[in-house]
Symmetry: C2
Subunit: 283 residues, 2 copies
């Protein structure tokens, strides 16, 4: 790959009305769509997305997960899915099958389409938009109970695309207690509010943890910011997920923590959050 191959903007990609119709048809077969957004990167969006997907799949629901982060796709790493797997193409229908992940969840990510995990995807906005539309419209998602969309940080292209392409999507905001994360989370709350999307609530990740040596509690950042944002914007605080050194030290590979560590504190907190989300959507 050379610098000349870095693509320029291609407006043709945006004109695909047929694809929009495909997206609509696909989305009608999925009962609940949830988009996980944050504003700031590194706050645990992907962790929340994969654990939410696995929690729902573990009780027998039919679940899909779409990694909308085109340039930094981490979903399949966290699910322990092999990036060398390639989506099977249905040539006649001009469609493709998402990869089957653990507990039979359907997974689609840019990571399946690069030849090496080190390869950067150096794409401008419209190219990314086109990929997102293909993932939504040309993948054979089938009948699902839940589709979880894991977004990149920011309030630009991908976030805007997803919110515009799936108006009935429900929004979950992830933040840490760090002030700069909260600042950016507040921006995404305002974006979702302006666009009149349904916000399920805020999840505060990495709120603190117990020292693995002495057992005493350590606040990683000053607490209270997510609660304040939930009050300021009048949306639910879905819960706080503690940082777990035991989990992070194992690395990010393999099964999401709700399955790998069914009894630890983070899992218990997470299950309460899943319960709240299901009550909001299914009752």
């Amino acid at each position: 790959m050379s610098e000349d191959e870095i693509p320029d903007i291609n407006l043709k990609e945006m004109m695909m009305d047929e694809r929009n119709a495909n997206i609509k048809k696909n989305m009608e077969k999925i009962r609940h769509k949830i988009v996980i957004i944050s504003g700031k990167g590194g706050v645990g969006k992907t962790t929340v997305a994969v654990n939410l997907a696995m929690s729902l799949a573990s009780i027998g629901l039919r679940v899909g997960i779409l990694d909308v982060d085109i340039t930094g796709p981490n979903v399949i790493k966290m699910l322990g899915v092999d990036p060398k797997l390639k989506p099977r193409v249905d040539v006649d229908a001009k469609k493709f099958h998402p990869i089957k992940g653990p507990l039979n969840i359907k997974v689609m990510s840019m990571a399946f389409l690069t030849s090496s995990p080190d390869d950067p995807v150096i794409w401008r906005g419209p190219m990314k938009m086109s990929a997102v539309r293909q993932f939504l419209g040309d993948a054979i998602w089938g009948d699902l109970d839940y589709l979880i969309c894991d977004l990149p940080p920011g309030t630009s292209d991908e976030t805007l695309d997803i919110l515009q392409l799936i108006p009935e999507e429900n929004v979950v905001i992830v933040t840490t207690p760090q002030q700069v994360a909260l600042m950016d989370a507040r921006k995404t709350i305002k974006m979702a509010t302006v666009m009149q999307r349904k916000i399920l609530g805020i999840i505060e990740n990495h709120s603190g943890f117990d020292c693995p040596h002495c057992g005493k509690y350590i606040d990683l950042y000053p607490p209270g910011g997510a609660k304040k944002a939930s009050i300021d914007f009048n949306i639910p605080l879905l819960g706080n997920i503690p940082f777990e050194v035991e989990i992070s030290q194992q690395g990010d590979q393999g099964l999401p923590f709700v399955l790998k560590y069914p009894d630890n504190k983070a899992t218990k907190k997470f299950k309460e959050i899943v319960k709240k989300i299901r009550e909001m959507l299914e009752s």
Copy 2:
């Protein structure tokens, strides 16, 4: 603000040859340009950028810092600069003056241009590109020893813009020891290599910390990944910066830690990194 006001792509914005000439003229007056990139969000790019800028300014060098993160601008929060300050415009020259920050560093960020910190900047790629070009070309940066550019995560629009607009820029890669952060860091290293930009090296942030209660060391993530990437890609490992609970618990507001906590471990490690960078560029 309503949904209708969310801007569409505007290709006119990209056609500004005059602006490119302005950028070139501005950049010629700046001896060293450093771009801080990561791949993944939340690894400490902005922390590195503001502490690098302040370290250089504290020894009498003339420093500018440009926040290239259009939708999640956190630089001025971390510098303790008031977002209500507005850049002074020179109407005749059709240019504007960056804001003066601590130690007289020149600061430019989208955060000065939004009316409230909660306001999201819902812009697609070309709009962001236009803002980045204005910041580089229409700001009166003057003669500087260093310009530090703090980028958003990813290998898309802003990163591509900066690397293409300032070919002589030096690249510093920030990562945490977390596997997904390293995966994304490797993509940015490959991007910078493909584009034949000069890579100064990798900084590993949040490598671990001492428990504030018992004093024992806690590894937040499995160690060794940044060193491995530095070997794999044959680029220097500039250093590791420990997580400091003392710093993070104070919040992100105010002076960068190199000035606020001149004697702690993170500051000492950081000063070694700055020394290495200066040796590479100034000797």
